[in-house]
């Protein structure tokens, strides 16, 4: 389904980035139980050593202690069935959690497709609400705002203050969490999942056929003009050497991972994101799509596509599978330049075809702009664990999640059982990211298993790219890491320009934004495709002005003002 949820696993340049982004700056982490906040209000246990529940539920042990409860408790958790996990009940992680915390889980599964719809219906009818919602990709902010407003989702502030241990540690290390989790009313209602991965945050990459460059004695292009020259040569000078003019200079697809070309190309003109085309200019929100710089970018792309025939227009109608068929063509390479998260999308990393290609660093545009896409907030999935008002033992539910933030459980949630599904390196082997490696995977990610929960729920993954580095530079994680660090990271835009597209809004604002966005998104994308493929001409002032007027009718200015207001209120 063409679901427009662009969720990227993202790694921020951890500390440096965070300190730049968060307004207050940062102190080095103190790895004690909880931060200053927690210690001030840590409740005193009663004579059993237990802390009574503020909700009339089961008492829990003090923060950081295991097990969580002294009597057996069951939590009902709703999840979207992930097909990689064969069995959630007889699952190593489920059993480990029970063993350590004393809490059993009653799994309520919904099919993974359209889980949002199902959950929305459940919430709208208030039938059989579970204790906890643990939906991958979370619920939408708007739903959370609404439900929080109505009291269906529990406020977590108190519990964070009184009962958090591992979560508190994470919050102390990563101030961005608190900033992201607060709703407009100043309280928190959900727990996040954090998966840090640099290659996933700067993932709008493009891949150019190095072999063709070599055959034609061309250098890797560094500016947009140089790219035109190169693409023309690709198209006309038979770089694959088979005597046929069968080369496709530049081509993308509609539904692969970042396979649409605009995110790569337009960032040479303006800081552009397809999913939420806004950026911050000195604290003021601006839209990309009404700017002259954007128009210049469209003119350039129109030149590539409609005028020179270098960018193939099928880009805007074909599936990734058609691109794959062309890229991975049996006899000989046919594609010169393709945008996407990686060449693995079209051909096996173990094959020969991918070795013909190299990552293309961002190009410098005519005005000197040379950005790569970056979203420092992408690592954070903010609605991963929600405790509902139907839960009889909220503190238990909270402590359960808190434990999942520990390094031990976070690793188990993704890798499985230590010693069996992954091993811990002993000899100081290096990790992919250059730090000492923390694991050697045995159970490959993506295999059907009953060892873990496929990394759902409250988790803090800062080890994703810290697996042991092998010898093969074409091993996928290593390959993407190197490409990102060498070719894309140097062109990060200033962090002040990056906006958080996950802000929570008041329910009415959220609804209004959603309304405007439905039409706005559809129109801007349609317009872009038409301008690029030549159906419309961006050089034509009349057409461009008609486009701008249409945007105004759609209310994008109102949309911007709502976003601006919320942003300002968070300062």
């Amino acid at each position: 389904m063409k679901r427009v949820l662009t969720i990227l696993l993202c790694v921020v340049m951890v500390l440096a980035m965070l300190s730049a982004c968060s307004p207050a700056g940062k102190e080095p982490a103190e790895k004690t139980a909880g931060g200053e906040k927690t210690q001030a209000v840590a409740p005193t246990p009663d004579e059993d050593g237990l802390i009574p529940s503020a909700y009339g539920g089961v008492s829990v042990t003090p923060a950081g202690e295991l097990p969580i409860v002294k009597e057996p408790v069951t939590l009902s958790i709703l999840i979207a069935q992930h097909d990689n996990v064969e069995d959630y009940v007889n699952n190593k992680m489920t059993l480990y959690m029970k063993e350590q915390t004393g809490v059993s889980v009653e799994w309520i599964t919904v099919p993974s497709q359209d889980a949002t719809q199902r959950v929305n219906l459940m919430l709208s009818t208030q039938v059989d609400i579970p204790d906890v919602f643990m939906i991958p990709l979370g619920m939408t902010n708007e739903v959370v705002s609404d439900m929080a407003d109505q009291g269906l989702f529990l406020q977590l502030d108190d519990m964070i203050a009184k009962h958090a241990h591992w979560y508190a540690e994470r919050r102390a290390d990563d101030p961005l969490i608190e900033q992201l989790m607060k709703l407009p009313d100043g309280h928190e209602y959900s727990l996040p999942k954090v998966v840090k991965s640099d290659p996933n945050s700067m993932s709008r990459r493009a891949w150019i056929n190095q072999k063709w460059l070599d055959n034609l004695n061309l250098k890797m292009p560094t500016t947009t003009e140089e790219l035109v020259t190169v693409l023309k040569a690709f198209k006309n000078d038979d770089p694959n050497g088979n005597g046929k003019k069968d080369e496709i200079a530049f081509m993308g697809a509609t539904n692969g991972w970042n396979t649409l070309p605009e995110e790569f190309i337009l960032n040479s003109f303006i800081k552009y994101t397809r999913s939420t085309p806004y950026y911050l200019d000195n604290g003021k929100f601006e839209a990309c799509f009404d700017k002259d710089a954007y128009r210049e970018g469209l003119k350039y792309m129109n030149r590539l596509c409609a005028v020179e025939g270098l960018l193939d227009p099928a880009t805007y109608t074909q599936d990734n599978s058609q691109l794959q068929q062309l890229f991975d063509n049996e006899e000989i390479a046919l594609v010169g330049l393709a945008p996407g998260g990686g060449t693995f999308l079209w051909s096996s990393m173990e094959g020969e075809r991918v070795r013909e290609y190299n990552p293309l660093p961002p190009l410098k545009g005519p005005a000197g702009v040379q950005y790569t896409y970056l979203d420092p907030f992408d690592s954070y999935y903010i609605n991963e664990y929600i405790i509902t008002s139907a839960c009889k033992n909220p503190e238990v539910a909270f402590r359960f999640a808190d434990f999942m933030y520990s390094r031990d459980v976070s690793m188990r949630n993704r890798l499985g059982e230590p010693g069996v599904d992954y091993t811990i390196p002993s000899g100081g082997e290096m990790g992919i990211d250059g730090d000492p490696a923390s694991y050697i995977p045995v159970l490959a990610w993506g295999t059907i298993n009953s060892a873990h929960w496929n990394e759902i729920g409250p988790t803090y993954n800062d080890f994703d790219n810290n697996g042991v580095k092998g010898d093969d530079p074409y091993e996928l994680q290593q390959y993407l890491w190197n490409a990102t660090v060498n070719c894309y990271a140097p062109y990060k835009p200033p962090v002040e320009m990056c906006h958080n597209n996950k802000m929570y809004y008041m329910p009415d604002d959220a609804r209004r934004l959603s309304e405007i966005d439905t039409d706005l998104k559809s129109y801007t994308r349609n317009a872009l495709a038409e301008f690029v493929t030549g159906v419309k001409d961006p050089n034509d002032d009349a057409q461009w002005n008609a486009y701008l007027n249409e945007l105004k009718t759609l209310g994008y200015e109102e949309s911007l003002s709502i976003v601006q207001a919320r942003y300002d209120s968070m300062k």
Binding site: L5, E86, S112, W257, N258, S321, Q324, S348, I448
Partner: protein
Amino acid sequence: MSDIQTVKKNRARKPKALLEDKLFGFVNDGLLVLAALIVFYPLVYILSSAFSSPTAVSKGLVVFFPVDFSLKGFEEVFSHKAIVTGFANTIFYTVVGTLVNIILTVAAAYPLSRKNLPGRRILLFIFTFAMLFNGGLIPSYLLTAKLGLINHRAVMIIPVALNIFNVIICRTFFETTIPEELIEAAQLDGLSHTRFIVQIAMPLSKAIIAVLVLYYGLGHWNSYFQAFLYITDKSKFPLQIVLRDILILNQVNEIIADPLLYQAKQGMAQLLKYSLIVVASVPFMLAYPFVAKYFVKGVMIGAIKG
């Protein structure tokens, strides 16, 4: 003239009719061949793709015959243990569900097909109106919850016990093929309505029952939405839910950033689509021939004269 003599006399006229009929048959069957061919190629494409290797399918090498014959697609599908429970559940829902469907549909359609039933028009309108208007998801969901049907196997059978479209088709059939004279004759013989339905009308209606079995049966077989809304217990998921989950999982070329996962599923996405269709449809298609024999002309022989 007796019948036999009439027939003999008409036989003499045959040669002329024979030529026209032959031409007719030729054109008729020719068009059928054309229809079959047009439909044929994409089906062959799907079947061949299902039996090809993942790389062959990804590279678009399949044109007509399987390339790199392989059962990998099917292996992958059946490696998901949920498929077995999915099949079992779906067979259960289909068999029981269709049975319920047919009983209720006939119970509605037959009385409504009798032109002399007082209030018939109003009743028909009540049924037709319900086909056009519904209260939406929310009240249906609440009702299902109130009846205690959520996550209960019966939710796949009871709330979908009637399809009004099928009722109307069935009623039309009864109207046109069970004439009033037959009923009157039966009533003179002292047959009650119920016995008439069971002993006379049903045997005459094999064709429409066959249609109902097919239409309702396929409806159950393909049913996704009902389970999607109301079933939360994995062990009760029908086949379509399992298949769709497998498909989505493997369509990681959608905008979800997980390169490692994508790599793990490399190539299978394309192949799986085709293998899944084969797995999902073949069992049902095999059932068809058994039902098709009821679409034979002359089911009514002897009934009227009797």
